[in-house]
């Protein structure tokens, strides 16, 4: 236990950022393989990877809240949001109708066996990873009402 505390302390001291996304393939809604590292590499474009699930109420709230601003933000900030569903095969079939039923403008990827979620050590969702020029610039762990504006200000700074 003592060692663990020391380790945790060390970790917080190191505070270096994960430089780039892991080289992992996951699927899109048409089963096509997408590489997280190489398929989101347009220069100076901001990619916002938002991890969600059909059963996660705050996740859906966040994506709904961003939807209201999405057409403005995506043009103004040259950004794209990629909504990564972590639903496993219990609820994954619900992704297609839910996304369309809610009329979401986002690109949707399926992390069905949570390979990407695990590689990024994500424990709780919602979880947002902001990437620009292949580097992870910012991470948001969780969502509370109104936090989409915090996200917007972060994106403006990039």
């Amino acid at each position: 236990m003592r060692v663990l505390v020391i380790t945790l302390f060390l970790l917080t001291q190191i505070s270096f950022a994960q430089e780039s996304l892991p080289n992992i393939n996951i699927k899109d809604l048409k089963n096509k393989t997408v590489n997280i590292k190489t398929d989101f590499a347009e220069e100076d474009k901001i990619y916002v990877f938002s991890f969600w699930a059909t059963w996660c109420v705050p996740c859906i709230r966040e994506l709904e809240a961003i939807k209201l601003h999405y057409s403005v933000w995506s043009k103004e900030l040259n950004m794209e949001l990629i909504a990564i569903s972590t639903d496993d095969s219990r609820t994954q079939k619900r992704v297609r109708p839910l996304v369309n039923g809610k009329n979401w403008p986002y690109r949707i990827l399926l992390d069905e066996n949570q390979e990407l979620k695990r590689a990024l050590a994500i424990v709780n969702i919602p979880y947002t990873v902001i990437v620009k020029n292949g580097e992870i610039k910012h991470v948001v762990n969780g969502y509370s009402q109104g936090a989409e504006m915090e996200l917007y200000h972060k994106l403006q700074e990039l």
């Binding site: 236990m1 060692v3 663990l4 020391i6 380790t7 945790l8 060390l10 970790l11 917080t12 190191i14 270096f16 994960q18 430089e19 892991p22 080289n23 048409k30 089963n31 096509k32 393989t33 059909t54 059963w55 109420v57 709230r61 709904e64 209201l68 496993d88 095969s89 219990r90 609820t91 079939k93 619900r94 297609r96 109708p97 839910l98 996304v99 369309n100 039923g101 809610k102 009329n103 069905e112 066996n113 949570q114 695990r118 590689a119 990024l120 050590a121 994500i122 424990v123 709780n124 910012h138 991470v139 948001v140 762990n141 969780g142 509370s144 009402q145 109104g146 936090a147 504006m149 915090e150």
Partner: protein, 569 residues
């Protein structure tokens, strides 16, 4: 064990130097991973009749560490259950040790992994190696895997391994082959806004059998075929699975040489979605599809001296057959949850099953904004109807046998019908309500009488400012049997984007037994910033099924403090 910690600290010192060297723009690779810690301090609780264990402080800790350089990645996970794992976790999670480790090479076409890996074929009905720390599942395979994609239209996977169980592996050798073939380009489907893909899987499990003349082979072969077709806004997909004859467990949980049958499963899913609405239908029939990496489960004595089996901890399960029902989020709607019945179980002449059949329908609709019902921001409605039944046919208890029909339904196991409405009224107010009608035949779960329950949940969120909000949820359940009526409420306050505090209580005021008329009061809060999250809770854990992703585990009641911490690097 000290060696592991030494190794860990050594590895953690690498990024310090890596960070400094970055200025020179040299590629020293990169490090990534995370830390999670879940601790609990148990307290005696007379109201729940809970006596704290001898060592009341227990903790589960995970360090996941990876180093990646060019096409290579190496990683490990150290797990520390000190001084003991949290109550109700698999007793094989004990002490501090190396849980998983791997070395991986990946280029555009080829990926080779040795060591531990996670994998899923199709929907997982033949094979799913996965991790869920909340459930205490880590069924990573230890062995080798090759993935090869000669072009964009074909993926192959071949693997061999043994399944992780605690800090060891089980005795079954698992072989797997899987392929995905995308036909859209070859059939010129993209021009027509169509798409078609198919998949084939094979899984074999070899395990020595300890008795003479078994009626089944030591190697059990299983196959599946799947397809997914999309035509504009319509989609249709399915999966058919067959598993050769295999020994199953008798009512004492011992491997039996009688009653040996093949197993199979069929799933069909289709739907149509368009602007503002979507409909989805899933039908599934599963018969005798329990697939274990060791045919006979291990039995243990738990901390209270009771006999438990590895299956109680979901240990040694190779495949994944989730309950296809809506995953509700309120407290009371998770009292009667369904767990898919994929295997054969003959408990007594009243309770005999060989699988399950049924389906669910989902409907989503957004009433557009600017209409009378939609208001300024629109209104979201979702309906889910799920019903699951025993396979129809005849069952005899002695000698055990079943003769089931392919079509039709038997006795109802479970149903859940719900309608949910959520609405943003203006920038300050969000409201929502859900009504659920549930039926659960608890005889098949643990012998209790069947229960009918109606649940009503309403919630409202008020935003004081863009980052300060308060949420109130109230819920009520009317149930005809078991512990009867409940009432509950949750109050959550978010003073800013980093903090959240809550108090919730559910009260079983309607129980016929006075000792069950208790409150399950919990208070807690969480702090999050960037990659860090810390949460603290004090309160009572309701006994029953704890479910994640449609897989459930029984936990008894308990009481105490919980501390969770996680971060990534």
């Amino acid at each position: 064990m000290k060696n592991y910690w030494f190794l860990m600290i050594l590895c953690l010192s690498i990024p310090l130097s890596a960070q400094e060297d970055k200025k020179e723009k040299k590629d020293y690779g990169r490090i990534y991973g995370g830390v999670e810690s879940n601790s609990q301090y148990y307290l005696d609780d007379e109201g729940l009749n809970f006596i704290k264990p001898e060592e009341p402080f227990r903790s589960n800790n995970y360090l996941f560490f990876n180093y990646s350089y060019k096409n290579f990645t190496a990683g490990f996970q150290i797990e520390s259950y000190e001084p003991n794992a949290l109550l109700n976790y698999n007793p094989l999670f004990n002490g501090t040790d190396l849980g998983t480790y791997f070395l991986d090479y990946k280029n555009e076409k080829l990926q080779v992994t040795v060591g531990h890996f996670y994998e899923q074929f199709g929907s997982g009905i033949l094979l799913r190696a996965w991790e869920d720390r909340a459930l205490g599942i880590n069924s990573a395979m230890r062995g080798g895997r090759v993935k090869y994609s000669p072009n964009d239209n074909i993926n192959f996977t071949a693997l061999y391994g043994r399944q992780r169980s605690g800090f060891h592996v089980t005795n079954g050798d698992i072989y797997g082959l899987d392929t995905d073939i995308f036909l859209g380009e070859w059939l010129n489907l993209y021009e027509k806004n169509q798409d078609l893909s198919i998949g084939l899987s094979y899984v074999g499990r070899y395990e020595d059998v300890n008795f003479e003349n078994p009626n089944f082979n030591e190697l059990t072969n299983a196959y599946s075929f799947r397809f997914d077709y999309i035509n504009n806004s319509f989609y249709l997909n399915g999966e058919a699975t067959y598993k050769e004859e295999d020994g199953i467990l008798d009512s004492q949980g011992r491997l039996s040489n009688d009653f040996v049958e093949p197993g199979h499963a069929f799933q069909l899913n289709f739907g149509y979605s368009s602007m503002n609405y979507g409909i989805d239908v899933t039908l599934r029939r599963v018969q005798n599809m329990s697939f274990l990496s060791e045919r006979e489960p291990t039995t243990y004595i738990d901390f209270q001296g009771d006999l438990t089996s590895s299956l109680d901890f979901l240990d040694g399960i190779m495949n994944f057959v989730p309950a296809l029902t809506k995953q509700h989020h309120s407290q009371l709607s998770n009292i009667y949850v369904y767990q898919a019945f994929n295997g054969v179980s003959f408990v007594d002449p009243e309770i005999m099953r060989a699988g399950e059949t049924g389906g669910q329908i989902d409907f989503f609709y957004s009433i557009p904004s600017g209409t009378a019902l939609g208001g300024k921001y629109g209104t979201n409605i979702s309906v889910n109807l799920a019903s699951w039944y025993n396979l129809p046919g005849s069952y005899t208890f002695s000698p055990p046998n079943y003769d089931v029909d392919f079509f039709g339904i038997g006795n109802k196991f479970f149903s859940d019908y719900s309608i949910e409405i959520t609405k943003k009224i203006n920038d300050d107010w969000h409201v929502g309500a859900i009504y659920i009608d549930q039926y659960s035949d608890l005889r098949f779960l643990d012998g209790r009488d069947p229960v009918n329950a109606d649940i009503l949940v309403a919630d409202a969120t008020y935003n004081f400012t863009s980052t300060k909000s308060i949420r109130l949820e109230v819920e009520k359940m009317w149930a005809t049997a078991d512990r009867k009526d409940w009432i509950g409420s949750t109050l959550e306050f978010n003073p800013n984007e980093n903090f959240s505090v809550y108090v919730w209580d559910i009260y079983n005021y309607g129980s016929d037994k006075p000792e069950e008329q208790v409150h399950y009061l919990n208070v807690g809060g969480s702090f999050r910033k960037g990659r860090y999250r810390v949460a603290l809770n004090y309160g009572r854990q309701r006994g029953g099924l704890v479910c994640v992703g449609g897989v459930c585990r029984f936990v008894p009641e308990s009481s105490g403090f919980t501390l969770n911490f996680n971060t990534s690097f």
